[in-house]
Amino acid sequence: MTLKQYFRNIWDGMRSLAAGMRRTGYYFFHHKEIITQEYPDVPPRLAERFRGEVVMPHNENNEHRCTGCTACELACPNGTIKIITKYEITPDGKKKKALDKFIYHLELCTMCNLCIIACPTDAIKMSQAFEHSVFDRSQLIKILNKPGSRLMEGVE
């Protein structure tokens, strides 16, 4: 190693280090580049497709669109959904299968969206709720159809 090369090494090294320090120094003084999201104070903007949990929308007459066909239960890879059906007597006297309880295990759900795709009547959808932490996992077992709700007219 010649003396010239020796000082060249030092000079190049110092320059490369200075370049890095200039970059961090820039960020030190430019606070508008800060990207921290102050989460609980400023609620996050979630995309409308964000998958947080499965919900079953009800209309104002407390009616849902689920026929209890169990397509979602079959599509689910984790056994998250359990559908209990009952027989209802229609006004014209026929017995008809209807939804009794739509049990949804949020603690098993991986938000893969396969149940939503499988549903033939668009009865369930993904909501954007994401703050799911609770102290007891049994609180995560949810019944999605509201008590006393019934099937919307015209949904087969």
């Binding site: 090294g13 490369s16 995309a47 599509a75 890879p77 991986t110 795709i117």
Partner: protein, 371 residues
Amino acid sequence: MFKEVLAEDQDCLTLNVGPQHPSTHGVLHLVITLKGETILRVDPHLGYIHRSIEKMCESLSYRQFIYVTSRMDYLSAHINNHGCALCVEKALQIEVPQRAQVIRVLMDELTRIASHVLWWGAMAMDVGAITPFFHAFREREMINEIMEETCGARLTMNYMVPGGVMYDLHPNFQRRVKQFISFFKSKLNEYDELLTDNIIFKQRTQHIGVLRREDAISFGATGPVGRGSGWACDVRKRAPYECYHQLQFEQVVEQAGDCYARYLVRMGEMRQSLSIIEQLIDNIPSGDYQAKTKAVLKLPKGEYYSRVETARGEFGVYIVSDGGTTPYRIKFRSPGFSNLSALDHMSRGHKIGDLVAIMGSLDLVIPDIDR
């Protein structure tokens, strides 16, 4: 006092790196034998997060098993899902619409950038610089938001389905991707300032963990590890899938085989991925985003294998079907597993600090190795 230190050999020291260790990026357990600070042997002990996904998949249908593969290499979840979807499509001979193909490639390349960006930050952290990690997350966050908008999730997207993609692109997709491209191009130069040209970083990575070409082939070390050793092993070039054969991009190959070569390969790949995205983003064909498929998929009896290039290397899906609705046997060839097997060979004779740099340059994702 130091009974176990002076075990078997009087001169050697056995050190457990992991399962919980800052630089194993997960729960990898390495038993290393040291002489002073020089490494004599590295013995990986795996399985701390082995979920036996291969066995799980044997009880899942061909629609369901795809989502599980996001949990393997969670940093290139899209590409894993892509490989599985390709395998099912190959078996059922489904023609994937042009639009779906382009969407898939776009997503793959975005995932590749996100994965490489995170690797860049993690690599910097492994060699002791903490600031780049946060800078890397800033860019990764942009990609994650694009993913969230279109796919509905940030990490385990489950966007690929047999026959196409789950839903169409979000209307904002093109605009945000273009924003990202222009933003990321300027940041890549900052990356060079912070690490690539940094003398300390060069000292830490050059001539460290040299893997020669024939060793890389023998170890099956694919992806940036293989290409860093001068082996052109990109599946996108070797056996193009989807629309890769129509795209202009270069396979980044470095000859040195050391940590710095692997670093340069990944930096080059980020630029190549950007160019692929730029070629496609304005030319997304219209049409269906999903081919018509049956509700219940049944693969004909036989064996199917599909290969894709993830951010870590060649990912293979091997499905053995007995004609039923679930796979009879499924095998995932994960790139990390083969790359890890070269770790012992690469790190012998180096120092502990080098082991960390080598692990960083291998870009290990432990769930990918353990499956």
